[in-house]
């Protein structure tokens, strides 16, 4: 493996990790889950990205999670 591919794969790994920890991949996970359960069934349409993030924070409003000291 050449140096550039090694650097590139390390950078991709880092980006994947940071996004995962910050929760940026939440929509992709939701979509993948939705497709695996409902397929492309029109009866239960998948939320758009904007709808999903609104729904996400609105759910946190009614179900807050503690942060530790």
């Amino acid at each position: 493996m050449s140096v550039t591919t090694a650097v590139r794969s390390a950078a991709a790994g880092l980006a994947w990790y940071v996004k995962g920890v910050l929760g940026e991949d939440a929509y992709d996970k939701y979509r993948a889950h939705h497709e695996s359960v409902h397929g492309t069934d029109a009866a239960t349409p998948v939320m758009t990205e904007r709808e999903f993030w609104r729904d996400q924070t609105d759910r946190q409003d009614t179900n807050p999670q503690g942060r530790c000291c």
Binding site: G20, G23, E24, K29, R31, A32, R54, D55
Partner: protein, 760 residues
């Protein structure tokens, strides 16, 4: 091993878990795991011998050699080697004998998957998540205050405590909650301990949260009061977070990393700009705020923040806080290894035995163990470990890495905080941490007080204090109690040796203050919200309307009650003529560890009901220790006749002085101040009584449940029904060869678009 072969497990958890024969194995045979562990190659033996020797040598350097100075690198090695051994051997023992995870069972993230709250998450990502949720200001503050007893007691407690108590608690609670669909600690307490124990646990949790939020807020007030730079830069986090929230809501939803980087740049700009603004006349006039108005500001902020929608303030600041947390802690670790400061603090000081320490009063036992709670044993983690994390775990065996391993990381943060605090000059340390009642808040007073302590090797000069204040860009560093400013000086001192020199100290100091304030404000906001929902739920039993959490009036009312409760304690802390932190901090540690005792008591009952008496000691050991420490500390706080230790003794001393018509007593210089002491000590004393009573009820009901289980030879379980799993993932940080082989079978399957597992 054929795909359909049944894996031998205990009969007790052996419902039909035959897996789908069309899938590659979803779990490895436990015998394969054991064989891999028992396979000691010469290289493996050499590595573990080296770890053991290095760890042993580090402990010898810390505990036995004790030269004039001791290098900070030994703290790092002692900690890391002990953690590795504890993780490899003790947590493995717990896994094998007590918890016995079964990867054939689906986790809640799999069988309740909804793509939102329940979603299988890569173990390494979840480790980061869980760590960001558990680690906050606690492990940064407690060790700093405990440094007055010398470096050794705190170091031993943080490292040994985490291996046998803190990490065990986190691991157990996480596992038990995961086996119960992600149930909360409160629900598990009700299930296992019945109505009385469950109610006591709920009440205790609620009051403990109030105290914890109040004292965290007190730490922030103490760090920011009379610091124009600090107030400006921390204040700027509010508009920055609001901007980030709007950006994510309206402009680019979901671009979390992007906005976090923008937010981080703005944050740095706020720190740099804060220095410039504090240097101007109008800037220092506008942002120089005294403790009491600042406390009121934080209370108002706490109320508003807790009723604003999450997307506007809490969520964006949480991203920022996570970003800062992982980055700064990593940076500090690297800096300590590069700089390797020499520590001149004695191993054990006289304050450990005579209990007269100016930072927090009381002798080593029990007060060291309550001053350092987070980092060694933190009950608050039980709320996190029974909150989000169990709903995201992919496979059962990963609970060890995330629960036990995550807590080891927090302990390491505590060790670094201790090193940072120890690395600053002893005289400066005491001048910063002695209350204004002792130093008078002046340089002259602080010098006289510190040099009068009679500590060997301590010779404080006024120039040292004024020069340090100038270096960190503050007007004064005298009596900056609460731990956060001391840690920031320590961090600035270490960082400037890596980057920027003494000209950068002011930046690093305010960077550290910002970093701590950010965690604390997030914890205050989130804590108020969680407490509000708990209160609404409890009130709902009497007034059903409160159960409706979307009812505005009810939400505002309950938020107001919770904010008023912690706000009252906060105001009491900032106006306390005796100093505030030194009288209140023990209450924080006691509260946190009583919560740990409650969580461990619930675990004890669960283990006993499963009939696992042979290994009950794994839970009984930390429970017994936490119970003895906290109950002793509470009893001393209630009954001690030494006024600096016992709340009621202090109360009586001041009441008698007032009755005798005196107008000043001890450090209180007016009748109002004396009356304040009488009031504060009464409130603190009553809080101590409430905590210890509730905790004793919970522990007693848990012992009763344990005894009943013993008598009836119970084999019951309150777990959810086992569902066969359909996914596979390795259990530790690195996949073992057998796990890699199985993973290869999964990767070789034609992609169905069902799951993508990233491995590298």
């Amino acid at each position: 091993m054929g795909a359909t072969s049944k894996i031998p497990h205990d009969a007790i958890d052996d419902p039909d878990l035959t897996q789908d024969p069309a899938l590659p194995p979803v779990a490895l045979d436990p015998r394969i795991h054991e064989a891999e562990e028992a396979h000691w190659t010469p290289v493996k033996i050499a590595i573990w011998v080296a770890i053991a020797l290095l760890g042993g040598l580090s402990w010898v350097m810390l505990a036995v050699v004790r030269g004039e100075t001791v290098n900070a690198i030994w703290f790092v090695f002692a900690a890391i080697c002990t953690y590795l051994i504890g993780y490899r051997f003790y947590s493995n023992y717990i896994q094998k004998h007590l918890l016995r995870p079964d990867d054939r069972r689906a986790t809640p993230a799999e069988y309740k998957a909804d793509g939102k709250d329940y979603a299988a998450t890569d173990r390494r990502v979840l480790f980061g998540h869980h760590f960001a949720a558990i680690a906050g200001a606690g492990p940064l503050v407690g060790p700093v205050l405990a440094a007055q007893m010398g470096y050794l007691p705190g170091t031993i407690w943080i490292i040994v405590g985490v291996v046998f108590a803190g990490a065990v608690q986190d691991y157990l609670v996480l596992f038990f909650s995961m086996r119960r669909g992600g149930r909360s600690l409160g629900q598990m307490a009700r299930d296992e301990l019945g109505r009385v124990g469950g109610t006591a646990a709920l009440l205790a949790t609620l009051t403990i949260m109030v105290i914890i939020v109040a004292i965290l807020a007190l730490v922030v007030v103490n760090a920011l009061a009379e610091s124009a730079w600090g107030v400006f830069s921390v204040g700027m986090t509010i508009p920055i977070a609001l901007f980030m929230g709007c950006y994510l809501r309206f402009f680019r939803p979901g671009k979390v990393t992007e906005i976090s980087i923008i937010g981080f740049v703005l944050l740095i700009a706020a720190i740099v700009g804060g220095g410039a603004i504090a240097g101007t006349e109008w800037g220092s006039a506008m942002f120089h705020i005294d403790k009491v108005p600042l406390a009121i500001g934080i209370i108002v902020y706490g109320f508003v923040a807790a009723i604003l929608p999450v997307w506007l303030l809490l969520a964006p600041r949480d991203y920022l806080s996570t970003f800062m947390k992982i980055g700064t802690i990593g940076m500090l670790a690297v800096a300590i290894i590069i700089v390797r400061p020499e520590i001149t603090v004695p191993a054990v000081t006289d304050f450990a035995t005579n209990g007269n320490g100016p930072v927090v009063s009381g002798t080593l036992f029990p007060f060291l163990f309550v001053t350092i709670a987070c980092g060694a044993l933190s009950g608050f983690h039980a709320l996190i470990a029974s909150g989000t994390t169990p709903k995201l775990i992919e496979k059962e065996r990963q609970t060890r890495f995330i629960g036990y391993g995550g807590m080891l990381m927090e302990s390491f943060v505590a060790i670094m905080a201790l090193v940072a605090a120890l690395s600053i000059d002893q005289g400066i340390y005491y001048a910063m941490n002695a209350s204004p009642a002792l130093t008078g808040g002046t340089v002259q007073g602080a010098v006289a007080f510190v040099n009068g302590l009679g500590l060997t090797g301590v010779n404080l000069t006024p120039e040292m204090l004024t020069q340090t204040a100038i270096n960190v860009g503050e007007e004064s560093i005298v009596s900056r109690t609460g731990g956060a400013p001391t840690l920031s000086v320590g961090l600035a001192n270490i960082m400037q040796q890596v980057a920027g020199g003494s000209g950068m100290m002011a930046f690093w100091y305010h960077f550290a203050i910002m970093f701590e304030a950010l965690f604390i404000l997030t914890a205050v906001d989130a804590g108020t919200r969680v407490a509000r929902f708990m209160l609404q739920d409890s009130l709902g039993n009497f007034f059903p309307k409160f159960k409706d959490t979307s009812w505005r009036t009810g939400a505002w009312l309950t938020t107001g009650i919770m904010v008023a409760a912690w706000g009252a304690v906060l105001v009491m802390g900032v106006t306390d003529p005796l100093g505030g932190i030194n009288t209140l901090f023990p209450l924080f540690g006691i509260a946190n560890q009583l919560l740990a005792a409650i969580a461990l008591a619930v675990c004890l009952a669960i283990v006993a009901k499963r009939g696992l008496f042979k290994h009950l000691w794994i839970v009984a050991l930390p429970l017994g220790f936490a119970a003895v420490v906290t109950i002793t500390a509470s009893i001393l706080k209630i009954f001690s006749t030494v006024p600096s230790v016992g709340y009621f003794a202090q109360n009586a001393a001041f009441s008698n002085a007032l009755a005798a018509g005196e107008t000043s007593f001890g450090t209180a210089t007016s009748v109002e101040a004396m009356e304040a002491v009488v009031r504060n000590t009464m409130v603190q004393g009553i809080l101590s009584i409430i905590f210890v009573t509730l905790a004793v009820i919970v522990i007693f009901t848990a012992l009763q449940a344990t005894w009943n289980a013993w008598k009836t030879r119970s084999n019951a379980t309150s777990e959810d029904l086992a569902v066969p799993s359909r996914i596979f993932a390795p259990s530790g940080l690195k996949a073992t060869p057998a796990e890699k082989a199985t993973q290869a079978l999964w990767d070789a399957r034609p992609s169905t678009g069902r799951r993508k597992v990233r491995e590298h």
